[in-house]
């Protein structure tokens, strides 16, 4: 192939600059960052910005569709029947008793237009669930729960994993061996099932779920931290610190830890999505935070039985999980490339 560009005039500076911005600043990242910011803001301000109460519903308004949906009507034949004997009424029929409530003059055998699904209202922007609770409100409050649980899990698991990784990497020998075998064992456990067993035995609670998830993720921190410590350990500044009389703890936390913070941050960012998905799966299976807490996974599972009648109940919480985790993954990938490309092998 002939290289034409060698003969072509150089591109204007602004084109090259624009290309460079495109390449390095990743404007695509604006969308994930916007999504993440709104999720965080929603989580923090949930109590002030929610239009309704997250756990108390208005039963009369149950299964109200999102505001843009129109009314759905069906033509039904009126058949005789009282409210007590509805068993022999088919889908395209309606009892005389019920029909009289719509139109008092209706006769048996005639046809009547019945509203099977009301119009959406701006009172409930994303509609309501089977108990008449506002979905938007519950999704906003769900953001708070997901974020708080993910943050606590990462704080507990991350601290534990980092400290163990530091210790294992720094001391080496049997301590290293013991810690790393423990890591292998934890990673080999089917934790989702153990979580189910624990929840059956101890009852569902916020602390238990966070504890289980922290146990599931600390080994990942330990692996990365240990590897990084082994790399940094032989650096000159560590040797100099030791010569100048710094103690082991001081070297570990003041000299080594800052040098590996980038990796820990990248791992943590990449794991937020994993933790959110795990929490959603647990609450979907009924082993998460107890009802009626508005957790995204729980809302999704509640809407499962209404999927034919009210698609919005499951769709929107799932969309919230999907967009949040997608944004986190895109952001995490970018952060990894920017801060620490070596961690690519983590995948």
């Amino acid at each position: 192939m002939t290289d034409v560009s060698a003969f072509a005039p150089p591109q204007p500076v602004w084109v090259r600059a624009f290309r460079a911005v495109l390449r390095w600043r990743r404007p695509v990242l604006i969308i994930p960052v916007l999504i993440l910011t709104s999720v965080v803001v929603a989580g923090i301000t949930a109590d002030w910005i929610s239009p309704h109460h997250p756990e108390k519903g208005v039963l009369v308004d149950r299964l109200s569709p999102p505001f843009w949906s129109g009314e759905i009507t069906e033509l039904k034949t009126v058949v005789p029947g009282s409210p007590l004997q509805k068993t022999n009424v088919t889908v395209d029929q309606i009892t005389e008793h019920d029909a009289k409530r719509i139109d008092p003059d209706v006769a048996v055998g005639s046809q009547i237009t019945v509203v099977t699904r009301p119009e959406g209202t701006t009172k409930y922007l994303l509609g309501t669930d089977h108990l008449g609770r506002d979905l938007l409100t519950r999704i906003i409050h769900g953001a708070r729960i997901s974020l708080v649980m993910a943050a606590l899990t990462l704080l507990v698991g991350g601290t534990m994993g980092t400290v163990l990784g530091l210790t294992a990497g720094w001391y080496g020998g049997w301590i290293d061996e013991a810690v790393m075998r423990l890591v292998d064992i934890i990673l080999a456990l089917p934790l989702i099932l153990i979580a189910l067993v624990l929840v059956v035995a101890l009852g569902p609670s916020f602390q238990l779920i966070v504890g289980i998830m922290a146990i599931a993720i600390w080994p990942l921190f330990t692996r990365v931290t240990r590897g990084e410590v082994l790399r940094v350990k032989t650096a000159d500044y560590v040797a100099l610190a030791r010569v100048s009389g710094a103690g082991t703890l001081r070297i570990m936390f003041v000299h080594i830890l800052p040098g590996i913070t980038n990796s820990v941050i990248v791992v943590a960012t990449l794991l937020v999505g994993v933790v959110i998905l795990l929490e959603a799966a647990l609450s979907f299976l009924g082993a998460g935070v107890p009802k009626p807490t508005p957790a995204w996974g729980l809302m999704l599972s509640e809407g499962r039985d209404y999927i034919a009648k009210a698609w919005w109940i499951s769709t929107f919480p799932g969309l919230a999980i999907f967009l949040t985790v997608l944004s986190l993954n895109l952001f995490g990938d970018w952060l990894r490339d920017a801060l620490d490309p070596r961690l690519r092998q983590l995948e």
Binding site: L189, L198, G273, L277, S314, G318
Partner: protein
């Protein structure tokens, strides 16, 4: 090789031991089984008698030994809810779970590996973009949500396939796609792509090019074989996601497998059943992990000597 395998085997034994310990301890923590089996009218003698029968009067280490003895003989006790041996209930559910898992695994390989290779070979093409989108969705969307959306679109809306259950061949379509996409597909695709990019950039592929071999031969004979190694390890790494995915997928599609049974047992607080299921799942889990390790060591000689 032998040392490596011994080590993995040892790890498998420890894992099984750890799981059995957790289950045993949890069974004791969750309360006295006699509270469930006897009513308030039971006399002290009945209480003691049943305790003897269940072995509750013995020290804990003996109780654990009895429990393990039962497990090793395939005796997990009797389900509280169904009043049948746990082993009998589980054995009815093994086949559907294996069928669904196997189908999803195959689908993930059939789609993920070629798509990963082609994405790497034609980097930046539309195919590469499609592959990236498939992988991003698979990694970010909860598989149970995908499943519910599939039911809504293809079963309720378009009426193409049955919404749930395990009947004709077409009832396999949605659960298989859901489990593959949410579990293994995204990982195998991404890893295949990056491994392929790495090998295509290696010296021996450049040499093959310099020798004037055809592109097809270079891609499939030289690069592909070596690029297969990283995705294989993924099977081991993504086991948690696959396990979670298979439980939630079975629940979403009312698939009569072990995952659905586990959730039912959970809601009924049927402790012996969930205990037996956990042990069975763990067995399958560690067995697959060991299999992957062996295969890995077989394909990649470098592993055997570390």
């Amino acid at each position: 090789m032998q040392r490596f395998l011994m080590r993995r085997f040892f790890l498998m034994i420890i894992t099984l031991f750890a799981v059995s310990m957790i289950i045993f301890v949890m069974a004791r923590v969750s309360g006295d089984p006699r509270n469930l089996l006897l009513d308030e009218m039971a006399t002290d003698e009945q209480w003691e008698l049943l305790g003897k029968e269940l072995g509750l009067d013995k020290p804990y280490y003996q109780q654990y030994a009895i429990f393990m003895g039962g497990v090793l003989q395939g005796d997990f006790g009797v389900s509280l809810q169904q009043d049948r041996p746990v082993m009998e209930i589980i054995s009815e559910r093994v086949v559907p779970t294996l069928q669904l898992g196997g189908a999803a695994f195959l689908l993930a390989l059939i789609v993920g590996i070629p798509l990963g290779v082609l994405s790497a070979v034609k980097r930046g093409s539309i195919l590469d973009q499609v592959g990236r989108a498939v992988a991003l969705i698979g990694q970010a969307a909860p598989s149970f949500w995908l499943g519910i959306m599939f039911i809504f679109i293809f079963a309720v809306g378009l009426d193409l396939v049955p919404p749930s259950g395990r009947y004709e061949w077409n009832s396999f379509i949605l659960p298989t796609i859901t489990l593959a996409w949410g579990g293994f597909l995204a990982g195998s695709l991404r890893l295949m792509r990056s491994a392929m990019l790495d090998t295509l950039d290696s010296e021996y592929v450049k040499l093959a090019r310099a020798k004037g071999l055809s592109t097809r031969s270079i891609i499939w004979k030289h690069a592909f074989r070596n690029a297969l190694i990283p995705p294989l390890t993924l099977a081991g790494v993504s086991m948690p996601a696959i396990l979670t995915g298979s439980i939630t997928t079975e629940l979403v599609f009312a698939w009569p497998g072990m995952g659905q049974l586990a959730v039912q047992a959970l809601f009924a607080a049927d402790y012996p059943l969930i205990q037996g299921l956990t042990i069975m799942f763990t067995l399958g889990y560690v067995f697959v992990a060991l299999l992957v390790d062996v295969l890995y060591a077989y394909i990649d000689p470098r592993i055997r000597y570390t």
